[in-house]
């Protein structure tokens, strides 16, 4: 098919192109309690072809682009039509010119890890066995679980010589824990690993089973008012995406972000802790085939760099770095015990945590939080947090303890002062 695509590109007259081939082999298990409800396998190959068309508008060099998905099922005539249509469409998507990244043929990369050495079915079985091995809590149980193990080979070619390929294996999924007493409640959990990290899954499941028991004790929402709010775990990744998104050339070029190199992103007068954030390469190559490497983004609250894809980086006159999925954040100075020394509302589970990168507002409905009033800790449920990171970012206190998942490594928790909470 690759040859057919190249012939189609040449035949329509496109001189510049990007081809991405994604081959996915998957094994999936779906359980209701301890019964297998469905097993699935899949073998899918997709080519995404982007063709670029150069033109001149009022003396200014322009570059339009459009894409086509090519499937193995297509015959040569269909492939030709899809790519010719894309090249025609590119006429009408004329944007300011940008250069494609140059490169050369590189050896294929297989990302290391124990998943690479086993079949997708074996890996799915191992994760399922691990999860259900801890399903023995006296008061809580695993209600449902879904396991997805993928072996994905991504190959990238472009007209400037890039020819790279990498294979990654990933296991992800979700499970629901439930308890029946004193009330029937559940907690959602998701997981994602790039290694056969079954021990981490067991730990997560054990903690989740304890957490859902705690949630069953929670019957009321906190009283409405303002609280010192602690957020923890995966919510930090989403919260701190505010900074990674606003540092991206795709936000800066159109004026959606006012970030610039050297800017103090938390403001000039930081009362709390200053942010230290590094972009982490979770795959060897970015979307357009640029090699990815870890990149220090924010040091002591100062933006060191702007990053982004080829097009928007070119527009801003910076070296294209590619986009990143992972982040590493330096831990704070306070232990969890210190964060909890004074009254707080620690939200351990939201219905759905929302971080609006444009407005800076974050929040969501509280599924489970622990309220410390200075004397005792009470589990609460209901009500909502509605904070503004722009107003609160000068006084963030990060924990010494660490949380880690496939896209985040950094403080387990952050504490904000004076966050509005809707309650009873």
């Amino acid at each position: 098919m690759y040859r057919t695509i190249l012939r189609a590109i040449q035949s329509c007259g496109a001189e510049n192109y990007l081809i991405r081939k994604t081959q996915t082999e998957s094994a999936e298990l779906y359980f209701i309690r301890k019964e297998l409800d469905m097993r699935r396998m899949k073998d899918i190959t997709v080519y995404e072809v982007t063709v670029y068309r150069d033109s001149e508008v009022e003396g200014k060099k322009m570059r339009g682009f459009a894409d086509a998905f090519i499937y193995p099922q297509m015959d040569e005539e269909t492939v030709n039509k899809a790519i010719t249509d894309a090249y025609y469409a590119a006429t009408f998507a004329a944007n300011p010119f940008f250069e494609l990244p140059a490169g050369k043929k590189e050896e294929p990369v297989t990302m290391p890890g124990r998943l690479a050495g086993m079949s997708v079915t074996e890996a799915a079985e191992a994760f399922a066995e691990a999860l259900f091995s801890v399903d023995n809590h006296p008061r809580a149980w695993i209600n449902t679980a879904e396991f997805f193990v993928n072996r994905i080979t991504t190959s990238i070619w472009n007209s400037a010589g890039i020819e790279v390929s990498y294979t990654r294996c990933e296991a992800n999924g979700e499970f629901i824990v439930q308890t029946g007493e004193p009330q029937d409640v559940e907690q959602y959990q998701d997981f994602a690993y790039n290694d056969l990290d079954t021990e981490s899954l067991k730990t997560q499941a054990r903690e989740a089973l304890e957490t859902v028991v705690a949630r069953a004790q929670a019957t009321t929402a906190p009283a409405k008012g303002t609280y010192d709010v602690i957020l923890s775990g995966k919510e930090l990744r989403q919260l701190l995406s505010f900074y990674t998104e606003r540092s991206n050339a795709a936000y800066i070029y159109p004026g959606y972000s006012n970030y610039r190199k050297g800017m103090k992103v938390q403001g000039e007068a930081v009362r709390g802790e200053k942010l230290n954030l590094t972009l982490k390469a979770t795959v060897p190559y970015a979307y357009e085939g640029i090699p990815l490497s870890d990149r220090e983004l924010i040091r002591d609250g100062e933006l060191l760099d702007i990053y982004g894809n080829v097009r928007f980086s070119y527009y801003l006159g910076i070296k294209p770095t590619g986009n990143y999925e992972g982040m590493q954040v330096k831990n704070g100075t306070a232990s969890m015990a210190q964060l909890k020394a004074k009254p707080y509302l620690h939200v351990v589970s939201f219905s759905g945590f929302d971080m609006d990168v444009f407005s800076g507002h974050f929040g969501g409905e509280i599924r489970l939080a622990y309220l410390f009033d200075g004397e005792k800790v009470t589990p609460v449920t209901g009500g909502s947090v509605n904070g503004s990171l722009l107003e609160l970012q000068d006084n963030m206190i990060f924990s010494k303890e660490t949380y880690k998942d496939s896209r985040y490594e950094g403080p387990l928790a952050v504490k904000f002062t004076g966050v509005p909470v809707a309650g009873v």
Partner: protein, 477 residues
């Protein structure tokens, strides 16, 4: 004009039949769903002009479902040729279905009966005004540019206006021992987003048009401008919400989000099978005000973006009355959940794509209209707000908690808007409390379907939702 059938699928239909026959030599039930879908998006903004195929709405693939006498398995792939049929059958017979034997001790397969189905054979297509071939990429971009340019002239404080259009033309063929179905469906949506700065905050407002139609919906986009500009004006003078419980008027989009997120997900009956939905215990009981009648179905609102003729398990589309004058009548159901619960599927078995599992999913979900005039509803509010622009929501079928986010709320005192605006707003509370508090409903329901719906945090499908303006008591933060 009618949406045409797919050349690829028609060419592959004989091979699909041969493959199905091969599977039925071993298994008492097997089905094949084939999908050829083209999804395309156009956008114009300060970031530039973008024309792109959508990876969520585009695919060309197959999924086979097989019953081995006690349980089901699925195999998804996207290449079918004559010489591959034996290999596919072998992969299913030797790897997929025996895989259950490799499960760890203590785990077993859930027992299901064979799929019970009735004879059916049809091919149906939706109608649309202008197909992609009749409106070229250049004309689409010019229309989007014109609307954007006009919008940008409306206010001097706009950072940007983004106009966008997306469509999907989806062809599906479903084959099983008793069924041979085909459908060709097109939906299109247009979206206008405006952005303005309020200090370091960027406030955004949006509106959409479209549904089960072609690119002719682009002609409606200019009509979205006044509403979006009004909203930007409100957002720029907005202040943080004062948390509390308020009498609220919900616009039809906010009503739709409450219908969909707060209640709709809770009546997806695969959640009944998992004992994850409180609604199961309330069938036959009042869960809402007697004013409330709620529908879901791909056959209910023929001009909406989740309308189709059969679902991804070959079940014909239906109109399901979920709540009848306040009483919960039942849920919506996919075929496998139906087997587990011993009830008939309702045409709600939907997949993100052939390489995703089918779950019970909503389609077009809405409250019927009531008898009140909007002006009377506003006049009835002593101290409350009108909730505008639904932005996102998250379901909680197990405990009927509400999380819905709306962009802003306009204060109403003594029956009149005061000019005070709050933003953003989080709705919380207990679903039946909210639904039972509904005391007024305007006459005409309005549905919109620009967005997508996830099951939990994944499995995206196109849906629409809506209803009339409603008056209810809601906790806001």
């Amino acid at each position: 004009m009618q949406v045409n059938s797919s050349k690829i699928l028609e060419e592959k239909r004989p091979l699909m039949k041969k493959l199905l026959a091969g599977l039925l030599e071993t298994y008492t039930y097997a089905s094949i769903l084939a999908v050829d879908a083209e999804g395309k998006s156009y956008a114009v903004s300060r970031a530039g002009i973008n024309i792109a195929k959508s990876d969520v709405w585009s695919e060309c693939g197959y999924v086979i479902k097989v019953y081995d006498g006690e349980s089901y398995g699925e195999y998804a792939f996207n290449h079918l040729e004559e010489d591959q049929i034996d290999g596919i059958v072998t992969r299913i017979k030797e790897q997929l279905m025996p895989w259950k034997e490799a499960l760890a001790a203590g785990l077993c397969t859930k027992q299901y009966p064979r799929m019970d189905e009735e004879e059916a054979s049809f091919e149906k297509s939706t109608e649309c005004g202008r197909m992609p071939g009749q409106m070229g990429d250049g004309e689409v971009i010019e229309k989007l540019k014109a609307v954007r340019d006009k919008a940008l002239t409306q206010r001097e404080d706009l950072i940007d206006c983004r106009t966008a259009c997306s469509y999907q033309v989806a062809h599906k063929i479903f084959l099983s021992p008793k069924k041979e179905l085909a459908q060709n469906v097109m939906w299109t949506t247009g979206v206008l987003v405006a952005m303005a700065a309020k200090g370091e905050e960027i406030k955004t407002s949006f509106a959409s048009c479209g549904g089960l139609c072609g690119l002719e919906t682009l002609d409606e986009m200019e009509g979205l401008i006044p509403g979006v500009m009004d909203s930007i004006g409100y957002l720029l003078v907005s202040e943080p919400m004062v948390p509390g419980e308020y009498d609220c008027i919900c616009t039809p989009e906010v009503t739709g989000m409450i219908v969909h997120e707060a209640f709709g997900h809770g009546v997806e009956m695969d959640m009944f099978v998992k004992k994850r939905a409180l609604a199961e215990k309330y069938v036959g009981e009042y869960v809402a005000s007697p004013l409330v009648t709620m529908h879901d179905g791909a056959a209910v609102a023929i001009d909406q973006s989740a309308t189709f003729f059969f679902d991804d398990e070959g079940t014909p589309a239906q109109d399901t009355i979920v709540i009848d004058h306040g009483v919960l009548k039942g849920g919506i159901c996919d075929a496998q959940a139906g087997m587990a619960l011993h009830c008939a599927p309702t045409g709600n078995g939907r997949r993100q794509s052939t390489d995703h599992k089918a779950y019970t999913r909503m389609t077009n979900t809405y409250f019927e209209g009531g008898n009140d005039k909007l002006e009377d509803m506003i006049a009835s509010i002593e101290n409350g707000v009108m909730l505008c622009e639904a932005t996102s929501g998250m379901e909680d079928p197990k405990n009927w908690g509400i999380q819905c986010m709306v962009n802003y709320a306009r204060e109403i005192k003594n029956g009149k808007f005061t000019g005070r605006v709050f933003s953003p707003i989080v709705l919380t509370g207990y679903v039946p409390d909210l639904l039972k508090s509904i005391s007024m409903m305007s006459e005409t329901p309005k549905l919109s379907g620009a967005g997508m719906c996830g099951k939990g945090h994944k499995e995206w499908v196109k849906v629409s939702d809506g209803g009339p303006y409603i008056k209810a008591r809601i906790r806001l933060g």
